[in-house]
């Protein structure tokens, strides 16, 4: 998805993991994924650049659809569809 498409996306759940370092964002994502239904969109906020590669790999393993990420002053917004 393009950045514009991602920005227009409505997230069903936002996980703010900016206060944690590796593996915090991954653990936060795993914990929160149980709260949404299949087909819903989850957004993960992270200040750790490693998350940008971790989350797509995790999503692939769990068969979730990784939609993309937006870089926003000092943080990353990552989107995936359960």
């Amino acid at each position: 998805m393009t950045v514009e498409e991602l920005k227009a996306l409505k997230s069903d759940k936002v996980v703010d993991a900016r206060g944690t370092a590796c593996p915090g964002p991954l653990l936060a994502a795993k914990k929160a994924i149980g709260d949404i239904q299949a087909g819903q969109v989850m957004e993960i906020l992270s200040a750790d650049e490693g998350t940008k590669s971790d989350i797509p790999k995790w999503a692939k393993k769990q068969s979730f659809e990784y939609l993309g990420s937006i870089d926003e002053d000092g943080m990353f917004r990552l989107f995936l569809k359960k």
Binding site: T20, P23, K30, K57
Partner: protein, 182 residues
């Protein structure tokens, strides 16, 4: 002819089943040998990360890593002279672990701990707690316990703790996709 085919299919099914059973599981097994803060930190970051990736995780604590799992405020009871001496000399729990490099009489270790706090990196203590919440299994080498004179009563309260021998580690490792020695 039809019978032949049926027999062949059955044979193939049996072979496939045997192959599937022989496949390693989505499991990580780790030997944690070092008691250095940096290495034990790495071990627990990988362990908790692996649980997030939905892998089973089995950590095998042996030799220098064993004292890391001693509880700070527990006493082991009566020990012989050598065991008491060793007990005093070895670190008592995760808070007494030191860096493998740049320890500099504790200055380097304290500096790293303070930087970790600043950068929101989880402390070893909280990583161990998280590992327990996530179901990471910890097996302690019974031989190391005997050698260092540790009693089960002085080890941490961890939900998935067991005392095992090398055979258990090997059988866990054999069925794991990933094996590490730290």
């Amino acid at each position: 002819m039809a019978n032949d085919l049926e027999a062949q299919v059955k044979q193939l099914e049996a072979q496939l089943k045997a192959l599937q059973e022989g496949q390693p599981k989505d499991q990580l097994s780790m030997i944690v040998f070092s008691g250095d803060l940096d290495k034990v930190l790495a071990a627990f970051i990988i362990a908790t990360g692996a649980r997030a990736m939905d892998m089973e995780v089995k950590m095998f604590f042996t030799f220098w890593a064993t004292p890391v799992l001693r509880a700070k405020n527990k006493k082991g009871g009566k020990k012989d002279f050598m065991s008491s001496m060793l007990g005093c000399m070895l670190p008592k729990g995760s808070t007494q672990t030191k860096l493998s490099k740049l320890n500099m009489c504790g200055m380097g270790t304290n500096m790293l701990k303070s930087v970790m706090k600043k950068k929101n990196v989880a402390s070893l203590e909280s990583l161990i707690e998280t590992a327990g919440e996530l179901g990471v299994e910890i097996a302690i080498c019974q031989m190391s316990m005997d050698l260092m004179g540790f009693k089960k009563d002085e080890m941490i309260d961890y939900p998935y703790l067991s005392y095992v021998g090398v055979g258990t580690y090997l059988s866990d490792a054999q069925e794991s996709k990933i094996q590490l020695f730290i």
